[in-house]
């Protein structure tokens, strides 16, 4: 594990804190991977900043992954895996969304690739994305009830 003081020196984190310190909820480094915790309301402007800033240049969104941390609240954890092709840098942004109000801004306007990632999370976790052009289920039939990847949804057997 990296020392906290080393983490604070990290240039990506420093840039973000410089831009908007209120956006950062925390920072962590595990197995050489930097994770920056972000508060939900800042995700879209932060995304725009990280994409357009010439020192960061995180133009490529590899993946958006949802994790259900039930029964811990906020329950849903979203991990945005960003990649800067020009700088060969990678970083993870982590946002937590509560189970009572599982809504977050969509980042499709920043990285169009988020379209299907967000639909998948909506389909399997039930997190809604504000501003998504087509928030419909992706894998399951449109009339399916329930969100299978939630921890309170069984793996098999009758419900």
């Amino acid at each position: 594990m990296t020392e906290t003081s080393d983490l604070e020196q990290n240039p990506i984190l420093a840039k973000i804190r410089n831009w908007r310190p209120a956006a950062v909820a925390g920072v962590d480094s595990f197995r050489g991977e930097l994770t920056i915790g972000v508060y939900r309301e800042h995700i879209r402007p932060l995304g725009e900043f990280m994409k357009s800033d010439s020192d960061l240049a995180f133009t490529y969104l590899s993946d958006v992954t949802g994790v259900d941390r039930f029964p811990i609240e906020p329950r849903f954890e979203l991990n945005y895996h960003l990649l800067s092709l020009s700088k060969r840098e990678r970083v993870r942004l982590r946002v937590r969304v509560s189970g009572q109000d599982p809504v977050i801004d969509s980042v499709v306007s920043v990285w169009p690739t988020a379209n299907w990632h967000e639909r998948e999370i909506f389909d399997l976790f039930g997190v809604r994305f504000d501003g998504h052009p087509n928030l419909k289920r992706l894998f399951l039939p449109e009339d399916w009830e329930g969100y299978p990847l939630r921890k309170d949804y069984p793996v098999e057997g009758p419900r």
Partner: protein
């Protein structure tokens, strides 16, 4: 249904349903094509026909058991999936795989890349009418499947990589079989190129078709040959080397045109580069050495030791009953599968089963580009565009 202006006045578009059963969708893919004559006005992609809940299933299996379900996602390159998953768990555990196992992994993964590209080439060609190429590609693929069967016992769903290394010691004489492939394949690739690369019909059906600009490709998250055909040189093996790929010399083919022909050239060149890597791996692999990491409690002890030594017996028992528990934390491991960036995200809560396993499937993301590639173009070109993306529904739907 929308109204379009035609020479004869306003007309309704026609919705043509392509799939989910269709020989050219390469799996159970459904595309709703809204047509104005032969021009596609709107293309709506409908997936999920092969959704089997693999990620949910992984939460119920131990880390070692999960390897077996990873094979089945990208079923044309099972060893790639095994590799992505094993590397992610090894990163989580913080264990180091012995070099010999790493080189063997590289060799087999590159053979898998060739096998996958052969299927792509054969099916893409047969979609566009070149039927003989399909049979030739599968003739070559048969040799590769025989090698996979030789080392792992399985032609396709190999599950040959384990956490910490390989499942079994490869049998005596396997390198000679790989050498035979190295001797015979280059001429076979020349044969395919002779049939297609300068063929007027092939050029007519692939040049200028399915064009994707570099900016669109990046913003849509496209990766692999589909991205490199549009001029962006992102290859995970070069950008973030894993499993000793930085010790191998190979080029990454990149073209600028962004059409089906460019992607075809990229993939054929990639097959040749993979042979180069295999040739180097054959030189590098030491004839003897460990194939599994030295990590008691994670990697099972050898059977002979288990039968005579007490600690080995206890480790064996604990591994097979409880499983091993990595520390809590999350990792995201990327590899370059034949289709692009294959990512494996694992969240561990300190229990022997993955808390969350997410596979970032390259075909899933690449398929989003289909809309951009076909809207406003002819229906016939939709077939070429689907083929050129090299999608596998198993990993799209999981």
């Amino acid at each position: 249904m929308t109204t379009v202006q035609t020479a004869a006045g306003p007309e309704q578009t026609m919705v043509l349903n392509m799939g989910p059963q269709h020989p050219s969708t390469h799996g159970v893919l459904r595309v709703l094509l809204e047509l104005d004559g032969e021009i596609i006005v709107k293309a709506d992609v409908d997936i999920g026909y092969l959704h089997t809940g693999i990620e949910k299933q992984a939460e119920a299996l131990t880390y070692a058991q999960t390897i077996t379900i990873t094979d089945r996602m990208d079923y044309l390159a099972p060893l790639s999936n095994n590799l992505a998953y094993c590397l992610a768990v090894e990163k989580l555990l913080g264990i180091e795989v012995p070099k010999r196992a790493q080189y063997i992994r590289v060799l087999l993964t590159e053979l898998t890349r060739i096998g996958s590209h052969l299927v792509w080439l054969g099916t893409h060609a047969i979609d566009l009418g070149a039927m003989s190429v399909f049979l030739y590609c599968f003739r070559e693929r048969e040799e590769l499947l025989k090698i996979f069967e030789l080392v792992s016992g399985q032609r396709m769903m190999t599950s040959y990589f384990r956490i910490g290394g390989l499942a079994l010691e490869p049998p005596v004489g396997w390198i000679d079989r790989v050498q035979t492939i190295l001797r015979t394949f280059p001429a076979r690739f020349d044969e395919y190129e002779e049939l297609l690369t300068k063929n007027r019909i092939w050029l007519g059906r692939t040049q200028g078709v399915g064009v994707l600009s570099a900016d669109d490709a990046i913003s849509l998250g496209v990766s692999g040959p589909s991205l490199r055909g549009s001029g962006v040189d992102y290859d995970v093996r070069k950008y973030f080397p894993y499993s000793s790929y930085d010790e191998f010399e190979f080029k990454v083919p990149v073209r600028k045109e962004g059409d089906c022909y460019a992607r075809y050239l990229c993939r054929v060149a990639e097959m040749r580069e993979s042979l180069k890597i295999v040739r180097q791996a054959v030189e590098k692999i030491p004839p003897e050495g460990p194939i599994k990491a030295d990590a008691p409690g994670i990697v099972a002890p050898q059977r002979e030791k288990m039968k005579t030594e007490m600690e080995a017996l206890i480790y064996h028992f604990k591994i097979w009953t409880e499983g091993f528990a990595p520390p809590p934390g999350e990792v995201y491991q990327r590899i370059e599968s034949p289709r692009g960036e294959l990512g494996c995200f694992i969240a561990s809560d300190g229990s022997p089963k993955p808390y969350r396993m997410k596979i970032r499937a390259p075909s899933f993301v690449n398929l989003q580009a289909l809309q951009k590639m076909v809207e406003g173009k002819l229906v016939a070109d939709a077939i070429a565009s689907i083929g050129t993306l090299d999608i596998v529904l198993g990993e799209i739907d999981r």
